[in-house]
Symmetry: C2
Subunit: 583 residues, 2 copies
């Protein structure tokens, strides 16, 4: 592509509304432009990157035996009513009335459509296992679209749906998808991590998320420093924490703590570490209040709380509502002693020999509270977010580290949720009707582009992995009025193109400084400059975008050198060099 005739509207400054690195750089490098909130046009260079991701995903899904289909974006409401999601899905579902006032939606996902296809077309166990995928535009009406395409409303997704005869079959399909996803992100040259994820109350039995590691990621993922344990924050657990060191014989005592409500305030006032306090949180589940107990230094995990209470979700009530639910317990001074409300305690509170907590009396706390002596041991469950250095739940020897990640893939054992709801049956070898068991497998194709940038950039711009680069090489024509410079640049352009290497030729009639800046911004893996003193000596200057000193290479060797460098870079990237600790 010739820069002079292409639409590559680079910007010196990013618009103020762009807060994340990838959003800023995608706008500045001229990859995308907003059309509305969370809705973007992909410009020529951006689209090239998107298509590269798409091609890698397609190849690996095909190689894994999945069959590509293309389902409609517009879906009839009846199917969503059958699955029960028309009412459940809420406002993220973009609902549409057609000219005949029939209800439709712009599909945010396609479980209903594929399951409808399956019930019509799958008749016999001979047709199973089968796995359908598509790469298709989706719409989710996010309440606050943000971070550019990272959390946009219209986006490109690969979604796949498998049908197996039984759980054993689904295991095989699921593992094949796990392997395919691993290959996809490896081939993309990204530092990533598959982590265990919560399956929620849907009843799916297993789920993994694939995260691109980036300090700007919205998600926190925990992993063991010794073994292969890794899970997202909703799911991650730790081995039991050790008991507090010194037993405490002091009696339970009522202490005035006037105006001290927060954990740091109480901790300082009582001169007790936060880990010796127990905080008492009220949540509402199914309309009923529950007191949840956590160590003062721990955070409640709402997903775990919902799972422990056996509900889809728990609500954290407003202060006014808390008084109503608890019969007037004082916010900031609530505690488990003497209450008749149902109590659920986090496991980490179990090993506290004695602790302080609210006294259910304004401006007062209890200290020296001891399980069984001062109150019965309540029901316990894992309710908290793990913390750095918590002991690993798998190997118990390692400790957990927390990293930030961007979720780019999700695989999920759906079970029979949709196949039951839409009544899919196939005949087994004995001629009996059986309900297939499903899995679903998503990849945020457009999100990968942003995630790759979050992981691979510096102050000057993007640093594309070879596999995703819009062009593997950018040629800078130093001086469009210098015949030797033009001839060299054009010859490299023709040569690289003939070798099947994507190349951007910056042939603009502009200052060289502008071209250098734009080249760094757009971030092609290799930059070759035709001009200046080097060229007078018969050489071109090659710069690896990732860093290192520029190479002076004789013009005659430039093509071979560029090819070899690309091969070396691509090899390193797809082998995941530094992937886990990257960025």
């Amino acid at each position: 592509m010739r820069f002079s005739v292409a639409l590559i509207p680079t910007l010196k400054e990013a618009p103020v509304e762009a807060h994340t690195v990838s959003h800023r750089l995608m706008l500045r490098a001229g990859l995308i432009r907003p059309l509305g909130s969370g809705i973007y046009t992909w410009l020529p260079v951006g689209l090239k990157i998107l298509r590269k991701v798409e091609a890698i995903v397609r190849q690996e899904m095909d190689a894994a035996g999945a069959q590509e289909v293309l389902m409609p974006a517009v879906q009839p409401a009846e199917l969503w009513r059958e699955s029960g999601r028309w009412d459940f899905y809420g406002k993220e579902l973009l609902r549409i009335l057609d000219r005949h006032e029939r209800e439709f939606c712009f599909g945010p996902t396609h479980e209903e459509v594929i399951t409808d296809l399956a019930r019509r077309e799958l008749k016999s166990y001979r047709q199973l296992p089968v796995n359908f995928y598509q790469i298709q535009t989706k719409f989710r009406d996010e309440i606050r679209p943000r971070f550019g395409i990272m959390r946009g409303r219209e986006f490109l997704m690969k979604d796949a749906y498998s049908f197996d005869m039984d759980a054993t079959g689904l295991d095989v399909t699921y593992r094949a998808m796990h392997a395919a996803y691993t290959r996809i992100f490896q081939r993309c040259g990204l530092g990533f991590r598959p982590v265990e994820a919560d399956t929620g109350s849907i009843g799916g039995s297993s789920s993994h998320e694939f995260h691109v590691l980036a300090s700007s990621g919205e998600d926190v993922i925990a992993s063991c420093t010794r073994c292969d344990y890794a899970a997202n924050l909703e799911k991650a657990t730790s081995a039991p924490l050790s008991a507090s060191a010194t037993p405490d014989d002091e009696p339970m005592r009522l202490v005035a703590t006037p105006g001290k409500k927060s954990i740091p305030e109480v901790s300082a006032f009582l001169n007790l570490p936060e880990s010796r306090l127990v905080k008492c949180l009220v949540v509402e589940a199914g309309g009923r209040p529950h007191l949840l107990l956590l160590r003062g230094d721990h955070e409640l995990n709402l997903v775990k709380a919902a799972n422990a209470l056996g509900v889809d979700a728990v609500q954290v009530p407003e202060p006014g509502r808390i008084a109503e639910l608890t019969g007037g317990l004082p916010v900031g001074y609530m505690g488990p002693v003497g209450t008749t409300l149902p109590i659920l305690a986090d496991r980490a509170t179990e090993s506290l020999v004695s602790f302080a907590c609210g006294a259910n009396q304004t401006d007062h706390h209890l200290t020296g509270v001891v399980w069984e002596r001062d109150l019965p041991r309540p029901a316990c469950a894992d309710l908290r977010n793990v913390q750095p250095d918590d002991p690993c739940p798998r190997c118990a020897e390692g400790h957990l580290r927390l990293d930030r990640g961007i979720e780019v893939g999700h695989i999920f054992k759906l079970g029979e949720k949709y196949s039951k709801a839409l009544n899919v049956t196939v005949l087994d070898p004995e001629g009996k009707e059986r309900t297939p068991i499903m899995g679903c497998y998503g990849i945020g194709v457009s999100r990968i582009v942003a995630a790759a940038i979050e992981q691979n950039h510096d102050d000057n711009g993007i640093i594309w992995p070879v596999a995703l680069a819009p062009f593997e090489v950018e040629i800078l024509l130093a001086n469009p009025n210098d015949a030797l410079s033009v001839q060299t640049a054009e010859s490299l352009y023709a040569g690289l193109t003939a070798m099947g290497i994507g190349v951007l030729l910056d042939d603009r009639d502009d200052r060289l400084g502008v071209k250098f800046k734009d080249a760094d911004l757009i971030g092609c893996p290799l930059r070759v400059m035709a001009g200046g003193r080097a060229l007078k000596e018969g050489k071109v200057e090659i710069q690896i975008r990732k860093g290192g000193d520029p190479l002076q290479v004789p013009v005659a060797e430039a093509l071979a050198t560029l090819r070899d460098l690309l091969g070396k870079l691509a090899g390193e990237e797809s082998n995941g060099v530094g992937s886990w600790t990257q960025n």
Copy 2:
């Protein structure tokens, strides 16, 4: 692809709702399945065909210097208000309210979005000419979706939009697109015809449609048997018709024609050929009535009438409304003599020496009516559809023939309609603000699949051109329990795959008759059968789907023969052998 594990749900019978050949065959061959009215899922084999069309379109657009972008499907209403189309477009525009009650539509076309992009990103004449295209899912809420994907609601389209500094520049771009379209349809192996099309009242100055020729086409296209004149029915004209042979001296006479209203009835009753009658039609344009005069054997062309009257569209009023508009003239007996209503006559009526027409009196006609003697010559314009054998308007020596076509492409000089409405300006070399001039260029990517089938099929199924075939070759494994048959089929499968030739291996454990029928239905260009007596003699049987005797070829030569046959077929098809008269 292995038939045994692929979803290729062939059907013996097409569902009753499928009326056209392509709709029936696409359902029967398992290419698509309906999800709702005018909304279809593309199954694996169908999608392969769609992707082949897409790839050809993309390559030729790229080769023509157009830049690929991807615009959102969901478009804000504000842009459509700026262009004036939000209210104008009517119910075909699928309107959407998002969660914040803001108005959007599912884009049926993207003039507004691209023009908005242009006004933000195009600043200088140096950036022009530029041509953007995308291949993207569109939605038009057709009142009666029909013919399967041919006139569906959700469909895949290639749309392109060009910006030039002036009309001369647009001419160049337009010709380049004309040439690219020609290459696209040639490469698809389709019999097609570019024809002049009406530009309507939008003010575009030039327009061509590309039609795939098929007897089932919805459109009629006229072309000269001698020269290259070709136009669609809205646009086609003829050279002036010759005057009727014999002058007629009879006086004008009032004749009772009780109950004779239609042209055939009056013609028979008066014993005059229909071409000697003048029929008088009332239309409403801008709220005013007009009497249109046509020869009895001619048909009114509403587009021409609107153009002649300088309005967007003319309405044909209901009988009750006619009485109201005309002050009570009797339907079936209206005529131009003695009326004060504005009259516009088709040119073909000019050369009538005398004629019969309604007398504006129930149950009466006038005969022997002569221009200038009995009534003033009215204003004239071309108002009629051309008919077969009309003289060619270009060479005057040839005659017109009428064929049916399916519109698969449309190129259009838009002029300044959108660039003015959305206020796009760029600086010219003198630093003056100028409004770019636009063209737009559409191809119905999914419709091409259906059009190709309408043009290429027989009673047994589809006959794919090589370029669009989901698989170039289908291998029939005659007997999955016969080792030699299996070994031969697998070896051909591996060999063809290695040669980059798409191949479907029918390895199902099913009767050979079923496989033959499905092979004909799916319509791969070449079929090779591994089994039976031929294989015992070391041969496979190759059948060209288009016809001809099967070839018996030694197994060792099969790959080379298949490759050569494909090359030969593809060459013939892309050279348009028989394209104009095909089907």
